[in-house]
Each structure stands twice: as C-alpha cells, then as structure tokens.
C-alpha cells in the first residue's frame, strides 16, 4: 500500500523506475568536494607567464606571419618563384634566418599552449589528458628541434 503511493501516483512515470525505499538509487559523490586528494593550490606563476606569452607572441606573430605570407605568396612572382634556390638565397642572410627561427619558435609554442588549454578545458578524464598532452608536447618538441636544426645546418651546396 505504502509502496504504491511512493512509486507511481505522486510523481508520475519515470523511465526505468527500479528504485524504491528499500532499493535506493546509488549515492552520487559530489564531484568537486575538496578532499585530501584534491591537489593543493599551486602558487606558481606559470599560468600567468603562459597567459602573457600568448598575448605578446600573438602581437609579434601578426607581423612575422603576415610578412612571411606577403613575401612567399605575393611579392615578386608569388608562389611560382619558390624553389630550392629561393630558400637558399634567403637563408644566406642572417636576418631571414632569425626571422624564420623566431617565427618557428613563437608559432609552435603559441599553438602548443593554445592546444594545452583546449585539452585542459575539454578532456575530462585524467588519462585522456595525459595522453593528449604527451602527444602534443612530443610533436611540438620534435617540430621545433627539427626546424631549428634545418635552419642552422642548412647547406646550400647539398646534392
């Protein structure tokens, strides 16, 4: 009798209502309770440095990347002029070496940090985060090292 009143009449149909007073639904642990296991607040400044870096590198990249696109794609014959000789000619000058090196480092770090925040915001499980970030950092380090190596050891007489 009493079971009747609790289940259907008052509340209306609920999908899969297999729970009642004797068989209660599982207790849901509050997900954000601050317990002993919650990591201690870090007072480091890494996040601030990262935030500032994003702003500053963004401004510099606007100049570097737009200049790069202009030179590579529009001036002096556009894309058709790009070839081994063109690259070799540019990298003969330290100015363009520094330009490209700076662009490589800033763009890679800027992009990597952006993806890091995306992973932090959207990957929900700790393991997923770990793997995604591992992949990201590996790819970033590999690309930066390879690019730097090429810029510094570029040999125009290679055959």
């Amino acid at each position: 009798m009493s079971a009747d009143t609790t289940s259907s009449a008052a509340i209306g149909p609920v999908e899969g209502a297999v729970y009642d007073v004797d068989n209660p639904a599982p207790y849901i642990e509050a997900p954000r309770k601050r317990t002993g296991k919650t990591p201690k607040a870090t007072r480091g400044n890494f996040e601030m440095a990262a935030w500032l870096f994003m702003r500053l590198s963004g401004v510099v990249l606007v100049v570097l990347v737009l200049g790069h696109l202009l030179i590579q794609l529009f001036l002096d014959g556009g894309v058709s002029k790009i070839g081994f000789a063109f690259v070799a000619g540019r990298w003969a000058s330290p100015f363009w070496q520094v330009w490209d090196l700076l662009m490589l480092w800033l763009a890679m770090l800027h992009g990597a940090n952006g993806l890091r925040t995306v992973i932090n915001d959207y990957a929900e499980r700790a393991n997923t985060r770990l793997w995604l970030k591992g992949l990201l950092y590996t790819a970033t380090v590999f690309t930066i090292l390879l690019g730097t190596l090429v810029i510094f050891t570029f040999d125009p007489n290679i055959r």
């Binding site: 008052a10 209502a17 849901i28 601030m48």
Partner: protein, 252 residues
C-alpha cells in the same frame, strides 16, 4: 442576487489575461531513479507573471513534489537561479511574456553543480570558492573609533562588484567551470574584486596571490557568458580582466 454575480464572472472571463503555457521541467529524484527526465505541465497563467509564479502554481496546485529554491521572490536573495530556455536567469525576475510562451518553456537546474533534486543543486563547491578568496574586510593597526572613511571616487572604483547576490548564475554558465569545477569561477573573482579594489582593505595582495593560482583568473577565456548571465547586470568579465591587469602591473 444571482444575476450580477454571473455577469461579473462572464465579464471577467471575456477579458481573461490567462493563457496556457507548457512548462517543461527537468525532474530528478535520486530516490526513484538515477536518471533525470523532462516532464511537461500545462498551466493557465497571466503572461505578465514570472516563471517563479508558474513554478509555484505547479507546486501548489499540480505536483507538490516539484522542488526548487526560492526565498525573497524579488531578485534579492539569489536562491532561484535556474536555466530557463537554456539561459541562466533568476526565475523571479523572468516574465513569462518575455520568453516566448507559445513554445514550451524549459526549466532545468544550473549546470556544473551536482543536482540534488529537481532544480536544487549542491552549492557547496560554489561557496567553497567564495570562501577561498576571503570575502571580508582585512585591516591592520588600531580600529578607528568611527567608521572607516573613503572618498566617493574610491567607493566608485568597486561599486559594480558590490551588487553581487551570489546566485551562481555566472559561475554555472562558465564553460571552464563546467569542465572540472576546479576553476574559482566568476562569482568568486567578482567578490575578490570587491575587496581588492577597496581602498580600506589591506589584503589585496593576498587575494591576488590566491587568484594567481593555476585555477584562478588565468583560466578565464573571456567567453562573456558570465556577463550575459548576471541578473544584477554586473560586468563580470570586465572585473576578471581588471584582476588580471592588477596581477600583471603589480609585478612589472
């Protein structure tokens, strides 16, 4: 005797302001099921009334088990923030006519906090973040015999953030908070801002240091959801950016 009464009733029904609206409410009762379901209620209501009145009508006349928080019913206490038609608002400040009553009006609990029952959520993580920023005046030295004086300009500096009623509409509209709930959230930062920029307070440095945390202001993505959600019209995102600026300019 009977005729005038009848006339009056007829006249009233002819000019009846009532319309039928469908309230689609997200119900959750952990004693029955671990899943939540949408439930529709058809009610007669004056469109100039508020969503809170509709909820009262349902609770008082249709289904007494509907659970929600409210206290003042006039936008002061901040207990009845809920997601109405997909937007965080106070049920007591939202008129039915303003949210297109021709379509079903959806009402659900605010996101990012554990639902306890129907529209009631566990506010503990929200208030934990609030407590963490020390929302009280901290001073050194002797207590003045009279009030602590402040110029009108100094008061103006943090006027906007004094208006917060801690309804959690902003924090529970923030996608960064939805993710893992460790982010301090806009409301805590707004209340820290209120003291950081108060000329009488002397713990601004400490509060800035707290918000410099990995889960502090730097997680803000300037989405502006909080500013849109705030029922008090506080420029929440601006307050967060002012805290960021203070953090940077105090160092360099």
């Amino acid at each position: 005797m009977a005729t005038p009464v009848l006339d009056k009733v007829e006249a009233e029904s002819a000019a009846s302001p009532y319309i039928t609206v469908t309230m689609r409410i997200r119900r959750f009762n952990p004693e029955i099921s671990d899943a939540s379901v949408w439930e529709d209620f058809q009610i007669e209501i004056d469109p100039k009334e508020r969503v809170l009145d509709a909820l009262h009508k349902i609770k008082w006349d249709v289904d007494g088990t509907l659970t929600f928080r409210r206290s003042c019913a006039h936008g002061i206490c901040g207990s009845d923030a809920m997601r109405i038609n997909g937007k965080n608002r106070l049920a007591c400040k939202t008129l039915i006519k303003d949210i297109n009553p021709e379509k079903p009006i959806t009402v659900e609990a605010i996101k990012g906090l554990t639902v306890l029952k129907d529209l009631v959520v566990d506010m503990e993580p929200f208030f934990q973040a609030y407590r963490d920023v020390m929302p009280f005046l901290v001073t050194k030295g002797n207590e003045p015999t009279r009030e602590r004086l402040q110029t009108a300009e100094d008061r103006e500096r943090f006027d906007d953030t004094t208006k917060c009623i801690l309804c959690a509409a902003c924090t529970s509209s923030c996608p960064v908070f939805w993710n893992d709930g460790q982010y301090f959230g806009p409301a805590a930062i707004v209340n820290a801002h209120r003291f950081i920029f108060d000329s009488r307070d002397e713990a601004g440095e400490q509060r800035l240091e707290i918000l410099n945390d990995k889960d502090g202001v730097w997680r803000c993505r300037t989405t502006f959801n909080c500013t849109d959600a705030c029922p008090r019209g506080i420029e929440v995102t601006k307050a967060i950016q002012e805290v960021k600026r203070a953090l940077i300019t105090r160092r360099f």
